[in-house]
Symmetry: C2
């Protein structure tokens, strides 16, 4: 900016005026400044501008795993609604299920001066957030609890929802129920497996876990392949419980291709589940509410950071279809 001022033969203040489009500058002066500034390829430093103005527009950060998953996009809407009501805008960034990226993304966001942060943790350690929290950043975790850190969190009622889904299948008479989930590093998957076990225990049924519990698939295709393998095995399941929406549609495709009448229940509802043939019974989560509660918790922390750590559980709901 100083260079521009020198070249145009004016003061810093005048350059500032032109750059910010303030009215009161003589046209010729403004033109001279503009020429100098194009000439030098000048670009305003926003950090300095923000510092001097002593106010950036208020915003909060949100880190999710994957925007293309409708679960996260609905959660994001919930966060946005509440943020807007509080006059804040949301800066969203995705960790792409990459722990290293989670960390760098979080830090890139905080470096930009946000009032608070909501995180769907992916890595197995959020210790790196400690200095930021110490520096006064408020953080709320959603969908999964933090690790290596004690902080507020908002989660679905995974165990109970899963228990009800599997109970539903047991009540229908199924005794060989497969569980298709992610690998053990995924918190929600292990919680939902616990619900699967609980339902069996309560019903006095021993699950053939060795053959029926599949932990690993992450994509629709992988879930399809795993389900196909299950259905083709010597003693196949009569029902499948899939741990999230992607795995559910993968299992649905595999069952359909097999041509056998295998029951299916999914954790997390998805678009068109009601009009598939056969339709899909699900344990519906409420991602909007997860996001909304997380944001509300964050803003209450922003208003008053004291008080014990909170852990909010959002209920799930069995939707029986077909």
């Amino acid at each position: 900016m100083a260079a521009v001022a020198r070249l145009a033969g004016v003061s810093l203040k005048t350059v500032s005026r032109v750059v910010n489009g303030e009215a009161s500058v003589r046209p010729e002066t403004a033109a001279r400044v503009r020429v100098a500034w194009k000439e030098l390829g000048y670009r305003r430093n926003d950090a300095a501008s923000t510092l001097a103005r002593a106010q950036a527009p208020a915003g909060i950060g949100l880190i999710i795993e994957d925007i293309s998953d409708p679960f996260y996009s609905r959660l994001t809407r919930g966060v946005q609604e509440v943020a807007r009501a509080h006059g804040h805008f949301v800066m969203l960034s995705s960790s792409e299920e990459n722990s290293e990226l989670e960390r760098s993304t979080v830090l890139a966001l905080t470096a930009r001066g946000i009032a608070g942060l909501i995180v769907v943790p992916h890595s197995d350690d959020q210790h790196y957030l400690e200095p930021e929290i110490e520096s006064g950043l408020s953080v709320v975790f959603v969908d999964r609890p933090p690790q290596g850190l004690v902080a507020d969190s908002v989660m679905s009622n995974n165990i109970e929802g899963s228990r009800l889904a599997v109970k539903h299948l047991l009540d229908l008479g199924h005794r060989r129920i497969a569980f298709v989930g992610n690998d053990r590093s995924v918190y929600t998957s292990t919680q939902r497996l616990r619900g699967y076990r609980k339902a069996h225990t309560v019903a006095g049924v021993t699950a053939d876990e060795e053959r029926l519990v599949i932990l690993g698939p992450r994509t629709e295709a992988e879930a399809g392949a795993a389900t196909s393998a299950l259905l083709g095995s010597p003693n196949p399941p009569t029902a499948v419980f899939a741990q999230n929406n992607l795995l559910t549609t993968g299992a649905w495709r595999a069952i359909r291709e097999s041509g056998t009448p295998v029951a299916l229940v999914g954790f997390d509802d998805f678009a068109l589940a009601d009009v598939l043939d056969p339709p899909v019974t699900v344990v519906a989560q409420d991602p909007m509410t997860l996001g909304r509660k997380a944001a509300e918790l964050l803003f209450s922390r922003l208003a008053d950071a004291t008080g014990p750590v909170q852990r909010i559980i959002v209920p799930t709901r069995l939707i029986v279809r077909g």
Copy 2:
């Protein structure tokens, strides 16, 4: 920070060291600083920190209309891929189909110091970006061209894709083809209507636009209601062409409920379109490529801002199902 230093009886530099977790501070000193800082509820000013360090992590901004629309989430992934390859992270924000919000969100993002910006414009005037662009911000528009501004843009081949879809229906012998789209303020909708007209003209068929062209629906439910009304009218269409994925599923539901065998083609592909009964023929856009191209164009501008304004058209593809 000065207050903390005073209270702890140390210099600014020492407070800075403690806040940033630099090693070489005597434990007792550090502890004293920490106490003072908690006491005062100190929180580091990130703008000042960034300014002094003379480097924020490199990032670009992306403004879309609605994250919960899979079209935008796939577009976002494309942007993210390219940004990551360039060592930049993406700050995403949604305008929620609100023009006022688009403006404030864009400005909030630019105030945070981003290298460049990609915008899916919603408002009918992006003039407000002029000062930012003058200040050196590079901006690329995607999915729709900017208005009130000349700038780079990346778009789908709307007219041609739409023309092929409608030609497909005409070739099948349909003569009463409905068009279900958004209102005229939506650029993509009017472009796709032009393709609809072009196909009719080429085929020498006069479309009954007065009764068959519905402009207005924005949601799945609205599209369903509009389609039901069409199907219940005296001289109903034998085929429907819907202008985006939401409108398509809305039309699909209405057709299914009506029990009549009406053909359907949608613009933009969607999950499970292939396994619905009947399956849905679509003109597939390539949202990942839209995002990728927009990001590539942005980074090429960042490297060299000169050169003429570019307008990149991404092809679409008819996927015939059922």
